[in-house]
């Protein structure tokens, strides 16, 4: 194998960094997390020539090296820490020809760190349309840097870039702006004390905390903070940073007047016209609403087809395994534990893929920033921002993709709050539970001529979920002791046609990370549940078949009825049955019996299991008349007498399901996204406690 060098892609957001990364690495990439934090780490391999490979790191987008977010501090730490295994041999700074002035600010800072640098000017394909011309040769001389004109979209100049990277030994690493000029005296003393370090690196370490309260992990410079160089007050340092920015812009303006030429009269402005409509105070919201409906339609409706196929496929696979594998506990494990467990993961793929397809398109086209703009004012009131809207809305389909969609929120506190409250929104798995209980306990009655009581109840439950989410966001914003970025500055990118390759890779990547990340945990939980439900000790369990046969000896039961009775006898005396009996005292004040208790326990794996479990327990499927609904209707409350499912216990159940965190898959994904068990544990406990007391209050008041 040949040699490998480290290449870091650095640039402002929206400069096409990711597109270029995709061009360079293709599918040869992997996404992970930086150790200990939740910032996404994208790495890939690019073959430069026969003997040289580049290990490419796509650093998070950043506007400058003055950090104000976790994402940005990752960039700075990678660039400051020479001992890091990611420390770049070559820094490729990506800029956008249409935003060159702003993009160059970051470039001048990187140059000052004395890292070998290449400047990529991306989106070259837009130059003609926008009547822009640029003198690359002159620019290379003025900046003392290799400059490559690229179009990631049209795949132009990418080979030139690879050549420039291969030639890494000849890249310049001389600063182009003299930052010390903002306070020569101060920098001179600094240089004297640390003669071996780059002066700009020292400056960055000193100022790192001013805008962003995070400890710096540069051990070798730890003493700098406490040394005499910390004499400057925070506001002095801030003033100096302002001054530094001005100095850099002076340099950039001087440069650009020489090398860049934009014929403004030629520019056609698509942006202004589109924004006039899409951000309109009425139409803007209407259009957003229609787009939401479309996304919903896809997640709810279109995905039912592939989901049905997947369901059928796994059911078939399971029965195939049962019939064609040799009988025994191992076959049972495969056919009743592993295959359904696998199915429980794969079934979510269509919804996840659809949601991310839409999000990627909205993101790529530039529309997402407009949504944030439209919704920010409303969300601000609850301690969130416009960026939380998409996750909260997608939560109504399924909380899993919704939690994954929070990655677009840069502010950690806001992202965490959104993740924690998303499971309150009424996801599609609650629907079967709601529907059957509503049908049982809410009268089918018209109110105010057009509304149906049952429909109204369902709507109230949706509103309850959304209200709970918003309200807990408001509370969490007050109680969580996390510092937040106290301001909101968002770039409004140009409208662009989404690139198929980028959209495809995003959908693939997110789906993969779900299957591999949460999949393992879902799988484990379902196998455990199966074990508990299919095993038991004692006479009643092991001899279930004989006992039932004896009990119904005289009666003429069909084969199927008998099987169901046996299954229900076994479940009652399985481990999970004992658990159900064990928790009965806890659920009795809510108006439930041990069977509902079991259904609740097993629906901690996934809510929709509720109906299925009750179906097994009540052993339905026999007579045509005996639907699950009628069975439930016929159940009698063992203590009070009267129907078990009455108005009070029904409402109590509805509230329990509305608030409880009964979804292992969501907990698994929350663990993945927050990188700790702490948050899913808190979420689980808080939601379950709220659910319990809401249900308790409802039952005790209504009974």
């Amino acid at each position: 194998m040949g040699k490998s060098i480290n290449v870091s892609l650095i640039g402002n957001p929206n400069t096409g960094k990711t597109s270029l990364f995709n061009r360079l690495t293709g599918l040869n990439q992997k996404v992970g997390n930086y150790p200990g934090i939740t910032v996404e780490k994208k790495e890939g391999i690019c073959k430069l020539d026969r003997s040289l490979k580049a290990h490419i790191l796509d650093l998070p987008g950043t506007y400058s090296l003055n950090t104000s977010s976790l994402d940005e501090s990752v960039v700075v730490e990678t660039l400051l820490n020479k001992n890091s295994k990611d420390y770049p041999d070559v820094a490729v700074v990506v800029s956008d020809i249409e935003n060159l002035k702003r993009n160059l600010l970051l470039f001048t800072q990187i140059k000052d760190l004395e890292i070998p640098t290449i400047l990529v000017i991306n989106m070259a394909d837009r130059m003609q349309r926008k009547a822009i011309s640029v003198d690359i040769d002159l620019m290379e001389r003025e900046l003392n840097t290799r400059v490559v004109l690229v179009s990631a979209r049209k795949n132009i100049g990418v080979d030139d870039l690879k050549k420039a990277i291969s030639d890494y030994k000849n890249l310049q690493s001389v600063p182009c702006v003299n930052a010390s000029s903002i306070d020569p005296e101060y920098f001179a003393t600094l240089k004297k004390a640390y003669p071996k370090q780059s002066i700009y690196k020292l400056w960055l370490v000193i100022t790192q905390d001013v805008n962003f309260g995070k400890i710096d992990r540069n051990r070798d410079l730890e003493d700098l903070k406490s040394s005499s160089f910390a004499v400057k007050s925070e506001s002095d340092l801030k003033k100096m940073q302002h001054k530094e920015t001005v100095v850099r812009y002076q340099f950039i303006n001087g440069l650009l007047t020489k090398v860049l030429n934009v014929d403004k009269s030629q520019a056609k402005d698509l942006r202004t016209r589109l924004d006039r409509v899409l951000l309109h105070k009425v139409w803007g919201y209407l259009i957003f609403f229609v787009i939401l409906l479309l996304i919903f339609q896809a997640i709810y409706d279109w995905s039912t087809y592939p989901m049905d196929w997947i369901d059928t496929f796994f059911a078939k696979a399971s029965s195939w395994a049962q019939t064609s594998l040799p009988e025994g506990p191992f076959t049972d494990l495969i056919s009743e534990g592993i295959i359904p467990g696998l199915g429980g993961i794969v079934i979510f793929i269509p919804q996840i893929a659809f949601l991310f397809l839409f999000i990627a398109i909205l993101e790529e086209s530039g529309y997402m920033s407009r949504v944030v703009f439209l919704m920010d004012h409303i969300m601000k009131k609850f301690g969130l921002s416009g960026k939380s809207v998409v996750p909260l809305v997608s939560g109504t389909a399924c909380a899993i993709p919704a939690v994954m969609a929070t990655r677009n929120i840069e502010d950690w506190k806001e992202r965490l709050i959104t993740i924690l409250v998303v499971p309150f929104t009424t996801c599609s798995a609650r629907l079967p539970v709601y529907l059957i209980i509503i049908a049982l306990v809410i009268p089918e009655q018209e109110v105010w001529w057009i509304f149906n009581m049952q429909g109204l109840t369902l709507m109230l439950l949706y509103m309850l979920g959304f209200g709970a989410a918003i309200f807990s966001a408001w509370v969490l914003n007050r109680v969580l002791p996390i510092k937040r970025k106290a301001f909101f500055v968002m770039e409004m990118p140009a409208y662009k046609l989404p690139m198929l390759k980028n959209v495809g890779i995003t959908v693939l990547e997110k789906t993969k990370s779900f299957v591999l990340g949460a999949g393992k945990i879902i799988m484990a939980i379902s196998v455990i549940l199966w074990l508990l439900a299919s095993h038991g000790i004692g006479e009643q369990f092991t001899n279930a078949e004989e006992i039932i046969k004896e009990q119904y000896a005289g009666k003429d039961l069909s084969e199927e009825e008998l099987t169901n009775k046996i299954a229900s006898q076994q479940l009652e005396h399985s481990f999970i049955g004992y658990i159900g009996k064990g928790i009965e005292p806890a659920v009795r004040p809510l108006g439930y019996d041990w069977k509902i208790g079991i259904a609740i326990v097993s629906s901690f794996a996934a809510r929709e299991v509720f109906v299925g479990t009750l179906a097994t327990i009540y052993s339905v499927g026999s007579d045509e008349e005996e639907t699950i609904k009628n069975r439930m209707k016929a159940e009698v409350n063992p203590i009070l007498g009267g129907p078990l499912f009455n108005f009070a216990s029904g409402i109590s159940l509805l509230l329990f399901y509305a608030f409880a965190m009964q979804c292992m898959s969501t907990l698994a994904i929350v663990k993945r996204e927050t990188n700790s068990w702490k948050w899913p544990a808190i979420q689980f406990t808080a939601m379950t406690v709220i659910a319990y007391f809401a249900a308790l209050a409802a039952y005790q008041i209504l009974k």
Partner: protein, 76 residues
């Protein structure tokens, strides 16, 4: 009382005069919000918050409370 960005009407242009250094994030400066640069008001959301601007060629949105900190001189 001098004008701030929050006073601009849609399509109106102005030159940035000064701002309160404590209240305006460095990020905004880095995006080109510096005295002497030209700012154009593009759109505003209901309640004039947030506000969508073109500052020195960069398109960005800021909240109203930040916009109120930036003093400008209106053009003509």
């Amino acid at each position: 009382m001098s004008d701030t960005i929050a006073h601009l009407k849609r399509g109106e242009q102005a030159t940035i005069v000064s701002f309160n250094e404590e209240q305006v994030p460095l990020k905004l400066l880095e995006m080109g919000c510096l005295p002497g640069n030209i700012v154009k008001m593009m759109e505003s959301a209901p309640f004039q918050d947030p506000i969508y601007l073109n500052i020195n060629g960069t398109f960005l949105a800021i909240r109203r409370e930040t916009a109120q900190q930036i003093k400008v001189k209106r053009h003509g």
